[in-house]
Amino acid sequence: MSSIAIDSHLHKAIRFYQASIGKKAVMAVTGVVLFGYLVGHLAGNMQVYLGAEQMDKYAAFLHSMPLLLWSVRALLVASVVLHITASLQLQKLKLDARPAGYVKKEAVDSSLASRSMIWSGLMIAAFVIYHILDLTTGAAGAVQFRELRAYENLVYSFRRVPVSGFYILGMVLLGMHLYHGLWSIFQTVGFSHPRYTPVIKRLAAWVAILMAAGFISIPIAVWTGLVGSNL
């Protein structure tokens, strides 16, 4: 008789998550989901340069498939919850692991992005909450907020300087978070190679910079009148 008792999948999953490497793997996978969403979101946003009609058509198009829209939203919310929960648990581990700190501590060879992930992440979370209230539900939006008038809402919102400022700050932090997050995905799931890892890091930096620049270009376009001058 075989003496092998095979663990149930649930038992395995729980034990896996209990290990910090398991939590990191969950962060990596949910990070991929959230990154995928950002790419789609940026692609959608870039249509602002094609004019109000195209932008609003796109918004209506997304809302024309409620089942898909809400499935994606559910997946995103689940990913965000898992990503943040794991990160807070890892942060607690960090605080517990060094109760007495150094009088002097120097960072020799690490990026600011890597050392500030928890802070950039929390700021991004705060930004996302505001962003949804501002441009999705309109609760914190400009006075003129009208549902599904994506183009107008965006222009009126970004004409408020503090809102644009907060947005730009959020996107700079997002860029930093993306840089460390993107290459970390590979390291965390176990892919590291002296030939490919430097390439992955460079690509991660470029993707992060381009995506942040893409998002930041929108409030700047509103200020300079490139977008929304007819409103």
Binding site: A5, K24, K94, R98, K104, Q187, P194
Partner: protein, 258 residues
């Protein structure tokens, strides 16, 4: 040369400890850092004060016994070097240096700059071994190892277990150490039988000792006197993830002799 030292002094594990300032006069640039401290300690002893406690043994960078933080950097400013191999010519006359012990919950301070690294021994005991048949010695080249695996194993085996990786890590994680051991045995044919269990057990032991979790920051690699690469941590992650999902758990689940 002449240096100002701010040294962490702590009488015992229960003493709160504090930084105390000392002047190091007549420092010869050819001295190693530990020889410089020996001279300071001689003066302290003559004055009837308690000398500064620090660990050392081989003093040639191979045993892993020495190590403390100099101005916020584990093992001091020179890359790939233990403090025993760090020479005073690396410093300038009039430099002010802060000396602190490794800081981690899993490395409690015993005295001054000496910490208890027993946690590392327990991580090794959890899985840093291979099973070999007793009896006559096997043929030298009976088991063939590809050159690149031999090199990888040797690079990982260079880890001397000094603890600088933990000291430098903002998470106080022992990932570089644990991963070096897992890689060292995991890329060799002799290490295969226990490979999955090794990853599971050593990772679990490191967590149980209270070390933090890796967030891919890379400070460990930068201060490692043996220049162990972050790549070993990816290998550990891979072994662990694979083992966590595919290992059938012969020993733990049945409670047998294993």
């Amino acid at each position: 040369m002449r240096l100002t030292l701010h040294v962490w002094r702590q009488k015992s594990a229960s003493d709160p400890g504090r930084m105390i300032q000392y002047e190091a006069r007549n420092v010869n640039p050819d001295m190693s850092f530990l020889e410089m401290l020996d001279v300071v300690n001689e003066e302290l002893t003559v004055k009837g004060e308690d000398p500064i406690a620090f660990d050392s043994d081989c003093r040639e960078g191979i045993c892993g016994m020495c190590g403390f933080v100099i101005n916020g950097v584990a093992h001091g400013p020179r890359r790939g070097t233990t403090v025993c191999q760090l020479h005073m010519r690396k410093f300038k006359d009039g430099d002010v240096l802060y000396l602190e012990p490794w800081r981690a919950r899993a490395f409690p301070v015993i005295k001054d700059l000496v910490v208890d690294r027993g946690a590392f021994d327990r991580v090794i005991a959890a899985g840093g071994y291979i099973s070999v048949p007793a009896g006559s010695a096997p043929d030298g080249n009976a088991i063939q190892v590809p050159k690149q695996n031999a090199d990888l194993a040797m690079d990982a085996a260079a880890c001397i277990g000094c603890g600088a990786c933990v000291a430098a890590c903002p998470n106080a994680s022992a990932s570089l150490f644990t991963a070096a051991k897992i890689t060292h045995l995991g890329v060799l044919p002799q290490g295969q039988p226990e490979r999955a269990d090794r990853a599971m057990r050593m990772v679990a032991q490191a967590a149980a000792e209270g070390f933090g979790s890796c967030t891919n920051i890379g400070e460990c690699e930068a201060v490692c006197p043996k220049e162990i690469k972050l790549e070993v941590i990816a290998r550990m992650n891979r072994d662990f993830i694979k083992a966590a999902w595919t290992n059938r758990g012969t020993s733990s689940a049945t409670g047998g002799a294993g």
